[in-house]
Amino acid sequence: MKLLTANFLACAVKGCKAAASSYPLHFKDAELEMQEVDFQPEFIHNIIPRVDWEGLRVMANELGFPNIPGSKPEGDMLNDEQTLRDLHKLLLETHVVDGKLCCGHCGHEYVIKEGIANFLLPSHLV
């Protein structure tokens, strides 16, 4: 599971849908794995506009990723190769193999095993 995935996910519990703190989900005990991918600056350019930057920043901080710009790169920053390479590493090369994603609202923990996150809910939460 690539780290970027977390940018598109929120807690699946019905009562959490309207709660702001149901996103971003927070990684816990995350075992990360790097899988080298060719550097594709054009791809990073095209991904940046669709990323929720605040969510990405929170996640990067929690996982101890340095060098993530405080705000969404714009203008000249998009030509800075080092910035793009750092983002490439974070967005396309880093995988979560095992761990949990936790909701900041209800505390529910979604288990990630062998890169597959389990978002099935026990019947009392559906």
Partner: protein, 295 residues
């Protein structure tokens, strides 16, 4: 003709084996008219996020991800899938990875450890389709609103008396350490396999119960430029579904949803039959409907 993704690694004990409906998806999406429509639709804007709901073997998503340059006119796509069966999630990851590697070979394949020369700094290359992950979940439940640009759904569409209960985490226990699951009891295995397979086809009343749940979620999960392709069979009354979306969008029957900004968003909902197969006594047996907002 574009190649059909390889699924030789998939065990079809609990996973739907690619069949006529799957192939109708491939044929429809690669038809000249749909390719032209999709290429025009996604010619600009950020990298599209493609979600296949209930991906099974992953053959449909792999086809789209692998052939994205031909089908969508761009390779900078992110793919994602969901399935209620964990085995299907693992299978889909593999099917999509293989298809992307076959159709868009990496410019710099991982150098073998034996190569003694200093590793070259990875060079800049053109984008390649990227599979984010496969999520073990129901429909598009954990997806944030307005994230999905292209949604694909080959639903359980067979009319049945009822829909099977939804699986819970308890249905997917940790595999026994000495993989003796098969030894534990043939009867129980058979029961579990039949149950998981029933999730792939049983659609409840008119075969529409699961499809309706997904349709109702479209206004939430699709981005403004979002497009969904949903397969229906004759008993699902596709013509009625199309008419309903055209006239009332998704507001019908959902209290308040259609009237809220969040529910309907901007633009008018459109629906069109994009592909069909198996004409029987004058009726198309299977059709694929394209649903999108006209902005």
């Amino acid at each position: 003709m574009l190649p059909t993704p390889c699924t030789s690694h998939v065990s079809f004990d609990t996973i739907y084996e690619p069949a006529e409906d799957s192939y109708l998806f491939l044929d429809t999406l690669s038809s000249a008219s749909e390719t032209a429509w999709l290429t025009q639709h996604f010619r600009t804007g950020p990298s599209p996020l493609i979600l296949e709901v209930g991906s099974g073997s992953g053959v449909v998503l792999a086809f789209v991800a692998g052939n994205a340059p031909t089908l969508l006119g761009r390779a900078d796509i992110l793919s994602l899938s969901t399935d209620l069966n964990r085995a299907a999630c693992l299978a889909t990851c593999e099917t999509v990875r293989k298809a992307i590697d076959a159709q868009q070979p990496p410019a710099h394949p991982n150098t073998t450890p034996e190569s003694t020369t200093t590793p070259p700094t990875p060079e800049t290359t053109i984008p390649r389709s990227t599979h984010l992950t496969s999520l073990h979940t129901s429909l598009a439940t954990p997806l944030r609103e307005k994230t999905v640009d292209l949604l694909l759904f080959n639903p359980p569409y067979v009319p049945t008396e009822s829909v099977p209960r939804a699986p819970t985490p308890a249905d997917f226990p940790d595999p026994h350490p000495n993989t003796s699951e098969k030894v534990k009891g043939k009867g129980r295995d058979f029961e579990r396999e039949s149950y998981l397979l029933s999730l792939t086809y049983a659609g409840g009343k008119d075969g529409m119960e699961i499809t309706e749940l997904l349709l109702r979620d479209l206004p939430r999960v699709l981005s403004e430029r979002g497009v969904a392709y949903v397969l229906l069979c004759a008993q699902n009354q596709p013509q009625k579904v199309v008419e309903r979306i055209r006239t009332s969008g998704f507001s019908e029957g959902e209290e308040g949803l259609g009237d809220t900004e969040e529910g309907q968003g901007k633009g008018k909902w459109c629906a069109e039959i994009a592909g069909s197969s198996g004409v029987k006594a004058g009726w198309e047996r299977l059709v694929i409907v394209r649903i999108w907002r006209d902005l």
